[in-house]
């Protein structure tokens, strides 16, 4: 019994050991393949059987307040040829004719053979047939194995379809996402543009809001059938998920923007100005409805415009605002309770305050008996100085900061200027202390001035300047800018300033030119000088008009500036534009006309 039972036991033991060893070997190998080297092997197998394919993540659109597309992503195609394949095709055809001997293709034969195809291909991509042949022969002369040459870049779908229909073996197309701006130069200076070949944002909102707009390209690979490249089901591997960019919604209205740009450019040409900006802002929200910067860049073709004209000067070009700034000083004095609109002073031509400054008016006049209203109507520097000195420099400076001057607006436009309040009031010299009362010795941007008038029109509450309404990501999430206003001056001070500016509109020297029948308007002109990049004043003056309407219930601010209008170097150059733009804005938004006439305030006594 012992013998018979022990023998099988030994056999079992032996086979068990063999089995365990065998299984052990398998397990080790399995772990090695499935776990240790899994990634490398997978990658290797994927490489061997499939190629990664790029999935484009489209760049987001930029739309205006009504959803009109201002910037749109489109697919363009680069037409690529393979000179080597073209030569090979000719070679093979010749070989077929003479199967016995070894053939070679001379350049003449090559040209003769590919000429018909080239003649068909050329016109489709905007070249002549000879040019196409030229590309091939020159590439082959450089490198006989040349396999890649651009024939045309970024052709549109029509040309792509036409090339495909020709079905030439050595021609193929590569996708190349591109950007179009269907409305051309409408808002071009705001939108900015991309670099043509690689899509890098270069300017404007394209640059500032790239985080919202940019899509992420993905990558997938899949196995495909050998014959016809049909993807094999279940073999798709997503290496990286493609993600489309978000849609950027602006506060701009494209129709109004077009109109404003058109009017501004027409007047710029008429008066021979270097450049002009027009800003339209909604009083109650601080939203920018239009910002015209002329000359304007057409983002479809940025190179057609001078480099210096491709930005938005409304944001980037600070200037001394001049007399439009007097409204701010007046509001500060009223807010401090140091004056009323009918307070009386005697304004001389030259005012020599005790601190040694020397203030002149722009043209000689005898002493005038003006009220604060009259000071604004006549735009008297001496009169404004007499009112401005009633409050401390520090207080005026603090008010300027509260009005949003001296720092970038909430928009954060690329290269946006902060403006310069000439440092701190402690650094102001005696002349600057007075000059800052009537808008000299400090700089602001056009948008900042529009924001000051928005504050005055909105009962002293400044709303954040908004150009971007929000960004809607591909997942449907929307971000919106904050819309919390801040009180800068008392409602009484703002309303009194508004009433005074109405008298400026009604009685000022441009009253005939900027009249808008049926509406009460508050406006102020300004003439100032602009410093160039080197700090020296540029030739000529910057003439401007800022104002709002309807004054009884302000809805819109319009601010117009023309730089160096050589044919008409005064605010008269800006006034017609102010009138036309404001009329259009009131008409477009169906603003109810003012009922009662503007309240009368005495300008003289």
């Amino acid at each position: 019994m012992n013998r018979t039972s022990r023998h099988p036991m030994r056999r079992i033991l032996a086979s068990a050991v063999v089995l365990v060893v065998l299984v052990g070997v398998f397990v080790v190998k399995l772990v090695d393949i499935q776990v240790v080297r899994a990634q490398a092997l997978n990658a290797k197998s994927q490489d061997a059987r499939s190629q990664p394919v790029k999935v484009w993540g489209a760049r987001g659109d930029i739309v205006d307040a009504n959803g009109t597309v201002l910037a749109d992503s489109v697919m363009r195609y680069d037409i690529v040829i393979s000179p080597k394949q073209a030569e090979l095709a000719v070679l093979e055809r010749k070989q077929a004719k003479h199967p016995k001997q070894k053939v070679e293709v001379t350049t003449e034969e090559l040209v003769a053979e590919i000429a018909p195809a080239a003649a068909e291909l050329g016109p489709v991509v905007g070249l002549t047939g000879d040019q196409v042949v030229g590309v091939i022969t020159s590439k082959l002369a450089e490198d006989p194995d040349s396999d890649y040459a651009f024939l045309a870049k970024q052709v549109d779908t029509t040309a792509y379809e036409a090339v495909k229909a020709l079905d030439i073996a050595w021609v193929y197309a590569e996708k190349h996402p591109s950007r179009t701006y269907p409305n051309g130069a409408v808002g071009g200076n705001l939108l900015g543009f991309l670099q043509a070949d690689d899509g890098t944002p270069l300017a404007g909102l394209e640059l500032a809001e790239d985080q919202c707009l940019a899509g992420t390209d993905g990558e997938v690979s899949y196995l495909h059938s050998a014959a016809d490249w049909v993807p094999i089901p279940g073999s798709e591997v997503v290496h990286k998920q493609a993600k489309d960019g978000g849609t950027l919604k602006l506060t701009i209205d494209a129709d109004l923007q077009y109109y404003v740009q058109r009017v501004a450019e027409e007047q710029r040409r008429a008066v021979g100005a270097d450049w002009a900006t027009v800003t339209v802002m909604e009083v109650k929200t601080g939203r920018l409805l239009a910002i015209a910067d002329v000359p304007t860049v057409d983002p479809n073709d940025p190179s057609a415009t001078d480099a210096e004209d491709r930005g938005s000067r409304a944001f980037t070009a600070p200037f001394e605002p001049g007399s439009t700034f007097k409204a701010l000083t007046a509001a500060s004095v009223l807010d401090a309770g140091k004056a009323t609109p009918v307070d009386q002073i005697i304004a001389p031509y030259r005012y020599l305050p005790p601190n040694g400054a020397n203030i002149n008016d722009s043209s000689y006049h005898d002493d005038e008996r003006l009220t604060l209203t009259g000071v604004l109507v006549d735009s008297s520097n001496t009169g404004m100085s007499m009112f401005g000195e009633r409050i401390s420099d520090r207080q005026r400076y603090d008010d300027m900061l509260d009005f949003g001057l001296g720092e970038q607006t909430e928009v954060g436009f690329p290269e946006e200027a902060a403006g310069d309040l000439h440092g701190d009031p402690d650094d102001w010299d005696n002349q600057t202390k007075y000059a800052t009362m009537f808008g000299q010795g400090l700089t602001t941007t056009a948008v900042q001035i529009a924001s000051v008038y928005q504050t005055l029109a909105n009962g002293g509450v400044r709303m954040p300047v908004t150009l971007v309404d929000g960004c809607t990501t591909a997942d449907g999430e929307t971000t919106s800018p904050p819309a919390q206003g801040t009180r800068v001056v008392s409602e009484q001070a703002a309303d009194d300033t508004s009433a005074m500016l109405e008298r400026v509109y009604a009685e000022g020297w441009l009253a005939d030119q900027w009249e808008i029948p049926g509406y009460r308007v508050a406006a102020k002109t300004g003439t100032a000088q602009v410093a160039g990049p080197d700090g020296q004043y540029l030739p000529g003056y910057l003439v401007s008009v800022s104002g709002f309407a309807p004054a009884d219930d302000p809805e819109f601010v319009v601010s117009v500036s023309f730089q160096n209008a050589v044919k008409m170097n005064s605010s008269a150059a800006s006034a017609p534009v102010f009138q036309e733009v404001m009329s259009q804005v009131l008409k477009k938004y169906r603003t109810v006309p003012s009922g009662a006439p503007a309240p009368d305030l005495p300008a003289i006594w």
Partner: protein
């Protein structure tokens, strides 16, 4: 042997079973049931069915792959077409193109707003004829995309910018304009008001 079960079972019950240990082994072949043919057939048929089903499924999936591929290609073509049409539409929708067409048809902008208040018939503003600038607006706000797109006046009658016939839109507008001018709304019985609620 008895020590282990003693912990769980009473020993006396286990004791009588001991003789079973010494029972002779059953004769080989006695306990094994003879396999029946039916089982084999069922098993083989089952395997066959599974194989065929998998084959059919695989064929269906492959067919589906070709269908998908075909549909995807169709979609690509249609997407391209859609993009092309949208680009054309955006082009002709642009304000520059509208303005150029309006000017070509002899229209001028009127920047003088005149409003009529229906409640009391007050006209605010000074009604005056539009005096548009003689200068063409085209170069003022350029748009490189509409270069070479023909204006309505430059097209053969009855064709849209896309070249498709559109039932003579231009002719129609031209023919109806004088008719409207001849028939002003009757005045005297107050202002005409639209019948809306």
């Amino acid at each position: 042997m008895s020590a282990v079960p003693a912990q769980s079972l009473p020993a006396p019950r286990r004791a009588p079973e001991r003789p079973r240990w010494l029972r002779p082994a059953p004769e080989p072949g006695n306990g094994r049931a003879k396999p029946r043919l039916a089982y084999a057939i069922i098993a083989v048929a089952g395997v066959a069915v599974i194989v065929v089903a998998q084959l059919l499924l695989s064929i269906a999936i492959t067919q589906g792959a070709y269908d998908i591929d075909h549909a995807t290609m169709q979609q690509t073509t249609l997407d391209r077409q859609e993009q092309q049409l949208r680009e054309d539409l955006d082009r002709v929708e642009s304000p520059q193109y509208l303005a150029a067409n309006a000017e070509a048809l002899g229209m001028v902008p009127n920047s003088n707003p005149v409003l009529l208040r229906l409640s009391d018939g007050t006209v605010s503003g000074d009604p005056s004829a539009a005096t548009g600038g003689a200068a063409a607006s085209a170069p003022l706000v350029p748009n490189a995309l509409i270069d070479g797109v023909p204006l309505v006046t430059e097209q053969p009658a009855g064709e849209t910018p896309k070249g498709e016939t559109a039932a003579g839109a231009v002719d129609e507008a031209g023919a109806e304009a004088p008719v409207e001018a001849q028939a002003p709304p009757p005045a005297g019985d107050g202002l005409p008001t639209p019948a809306t609620h």
